[in-house]
């Protein structure tokens, strides 16, 4: 996973799954207060991200700390790093 691709791919998930306009998807945007995703939407988002990045994140407690898009980008990048480290 190239970490430079992560924001673009995550934004793609938001556009495809939630039909949110790409120009709304700026890193500082708050996922609930500004983009309108609630806890049930987050479950759908997690499923979509798992598919896109071929990762497993459903039971990860760190998801609870995610508030903004940037938090989400950072989390997925961190997952990628952890996965690479575990494969070595």
């Amino acid at each position: 996973m190239d970490k430079n691709d992560v924001p673009r791919i995550i934004n793609q998930v938001f556009v495809e799954s939630f039909e949110i306009d790409l120009k709304e998807l700026t890193p500082e945007k708050k996922i609930f207060e500004e983009l309108g995703l609630d806890s049930l939407d987050i479950v759908d988002l997690v499923v979509a991200i798992q598919k896109k990045f071929n990762v497993k994140i459903r039971d990860d407690e760190r998801i609870r700390a995610i508030r903004t898009l940037q938090d989400l980008y950072d989390y997925v990048i961190l997952l990628g790093t952890e996965m690479s480290a575990s494969h070595q």
């Binding site: 609930f32 207060e33 309108g36 995703l37 609630d38 049930l40 939407d41």
Partner: protein, 246 residues
Amino acid sequence: MNRLLNIYIYSLIVTYTLILYPFFLLSFIVICLFLPKRLFYRFLRRFISWYGLFIIKVLVFPFIKVKFVDLAPNEKITPCVFIMNHKSASDPYLLACLPYEIVQVVNSWPFKIPILGFVAKQAGYLSVKEMSYREFETAIVKLLSENACIGAFPEGTRSGEGEMGQFHGAVFRAAAKAKVPIVPLCVMGNERIPTKKFVLHRGTIKIRKLKALYPEQYINMTSFQLKNHIRNIIYDELLKMKNEVN
């Protein structure tokens, strides 16, 4: 002057609740012990509505007036899910304007209100924070199949004088599962009736019941799209209402 108004109105409401409500409720329970369970629940929920209706139409009049307009009076909508924006703590009482058997979706704190909380619980009101989504969905679908309507405030928190908040989607998912109409309701004018610190002010509260959105109209929407569609409908109508005032 406003302090006197608050003392007057809250005294009336507390007196009404403490003295009259248990009296009527006991009578109802005695009568309803002889009725089938389903009829008991129906009467109890309508009784809660009448209790609320008396407060909003009689007790607080003329200091606080409530004007309800049905923009689609001839629609056959029940059972359905009513969705209302959430301005203040008076919103649950305002649902009494609707002449239907309604079960409200609430946060956990209303259940802690003496007498009212107990009765709401007996009437099957749903505390969304104390249930898993699966339990919530099952309860909603069951209530709708029994021809009860659901009343919900999907912002989950009072917006007061601020902008309408984002909607939580649980009740929309459940409505879609049950394949029932969703009826938007707009309320304005009660931003300070009462305030977040429960101080009442004089004013006129306006409620509008809009046209229902039927399952065939939302069948191709995701739940995220559905909740935002309803939110946009309510938002646009509130803008219209605001412009009419100005």
